[in-house]
């Protein structure tokens, strides 16, 4: 195994970087979309409940099926993978964002409203800082979930660590299978550990 890594470092590092790239793009897009939807949700509890419900249904669809559904529209490759990953993340992010914001002590919200804060001021100055823990938990869960599901995206030619596994399975190459599993699991466990440490500090 070590020998393989020494001889072909590019074959491991390139997919790893691809994987991280996919993760970063997905995360940025997910956060932008989730923030926008959360802000709209503050205006209507019916809308926010419907939204979380819809995304929970989508989240329950197996990723490979969702990838396959999108291929006729967006084709094979990273774009399709990122769309699916962003949609999946909405459930994890919205549920935590909306619940976190709703759990802020109602007397604090009343005091802030009574002093003349408008909705955006209430959100940015009071609700977001006070629910930062729940918000960050959502981000951590979506990062870990993205790392995992992105591995499957290799089946639709999106690259990433899944491609090492894919190659290994296709050619029955145990070393590749082991490296693929090791890197995918390692990245998820390491990132989760790191983000959990940050979360404790909040």
């Amino acid at each position: 195994m070590i020998e393989y890594a020494m001889n072909y470092p590019d074959k491991l590092i390139d997919p790893l970087l691809e994987h991280i790239q996919m993760l970063v793009i997905t995360l940025i897009l997910s956060l932008i979309l989730a923030s926008a939807l959360t802000i709209i949700s503050t205006y209507s509890s019916v809308f926010s409940k419907t939204l979380v419900y819809i995304f929970s249904v989508v989240y329950s669809i197996p990723s490979l099926a969702l990838f396959a559904l999108l291929i006729p529209i967006t084709g094979l490759g990273q774009t399709t993978a990122i769309i699916v990953l962003v949609v999946y993340n909405q459930y994890l992010l919205l549920r935590n964002f909306i619940e976190g914001l709703n759990e802020v002590d109602s007397s604090i919200v009343e005091a802030a409203t009574g002093m003349g804060m408008n909705k955006m001021q209430l959100l940015l100055k009071i609700k977001v800082p006070l629910s930062r823990k729940a918000i960050f938990t959502g981000v951590r869960l979506s990062v870990v979930s993205t790392i995992g599901i992105a591995t499957i995206a290799a089946f639709i030619n999106a690259g990433g660590l899944g491609s090492i596994l894919n190659d290994g399975l296709r050619t029955v190459n145990t070393v590749k299978i082991l490296w693929g599993s090791f890197l995918a699991a390692g990245l998820a466990i390491f990132t989760n550990g790191l983000l959990s440490k940050v979360e404790e500090k909040l």
Partner: protein, 256 residues
């Protein structure tokens, strides 16, 4: 002649799914500089009435004028910035220091830093807390009585002409409560603002208010000076309130 600060005309509020009106055809006229206490048991509509004045609730019927201006025509956010508001749970912002808490309303009105700084110091002195000791602390590091003082300072920050206080002393112990009652009278006397204080404590209502609104089941039973209320209770409910307080006094005398 003193100006009319608050004119409440035929105000009724009924919550969805409620059988009775929370506030039932209330009419009150309050002059500038008065200290009005609103006395009633829970469910009497006193808090609802207060929240209609700063538009946290919309009345179903009736009008409210503040200094002659109908609040229905004023933007609710702008209106609330011109009214001081204190609630029983205090609602200090736990992620902000005491100075930042007190500076909330001035910041919303975009005062400059120096003015905010000076105002915070003045307010902390006014409520009897040393600015250099308290400014950089967080609410969780303060006692209940100290927190309530900060809640009061925060509400007074932009020098509102009207202060609405919903059981502001409800969460503090009896001794602190007496101290803070005296402080409230002192602050009111010095500022000539119009104070509206909701309480269910009859002693507090009669001690603080120059006039008292007694509410029961959404209606105003009586609105008069403490002396007139004791001399001429308007109905049975008011008589029984006074009677209960007298009995309590006798009970203490009996122990002495």
């Amino acid at each position: 002649m003193t100006q009319k600060a608050i004119e409440i005309s035929n105000v009724t509020k009924k919550f969805k799914q409620a059988e009775y009106n929370a506030v039932d055809n209330v009419n009150l006229t309050i002059d500038e500089g008065e200290f009005i206490t609103i006395l009633g048991s829970s469910g009497s509509g006193k808090t609802t009435l207060l929240k209609i004045i700063n538009k946290l609730y919309e009345p179903n019927e009736g009008t409210i004028k503040l200094f002659g201006e109908d609040i229905a025509h004023v933007d609710s956010v702008q209106l609330r910035r011109s009214i001081g508001y204190v609630i029983q749970q205090i609602g200090l912002f736990p992620h902000m220091t005491i100075a930042e808490n007190v500076a909330t309303a001035p910041k919303l009105l975009k005062w400059n830093k120096k003015a905010i700084h000076e105002r915070v110091d003045d307010l902390l002195n006014l409520v009897g807390l040393n600015p250099s000791d308290f400014k950089d602390r967080y609410p969780s590091e303060l006692s209940g009585g100290q927190q309530q003082r900060i809640g009061l300072a925060r509400a007074l920050a932009v020098d509102p002409k009207i202060m609405l206080m919903d059981e502001p002393l409800g969460a503090v112990d009896a001794i602190t409560r007496l101290h803070l009652q005296d402080e409230l009278l002192r602050i009111h006397g010095g500022l000539q603002k119009t104070f509206l204080l909701v309480t269910h404590d009859i002693n507090e209502a009669f001690k603080l208010g120059n006039r008292i609104v007694i509410m029961n089941e959404g209606k105003v039973c009586q609105f008069d000076t403490p002396k007139n209320i004791v001399a001429n209770p308007a109905d049975e409910f008011v008589s029984s309130l006074i009677e209960s307080s007298r009995n309590q006094g006798k009970f203490w005398e009996g122990l002495g």
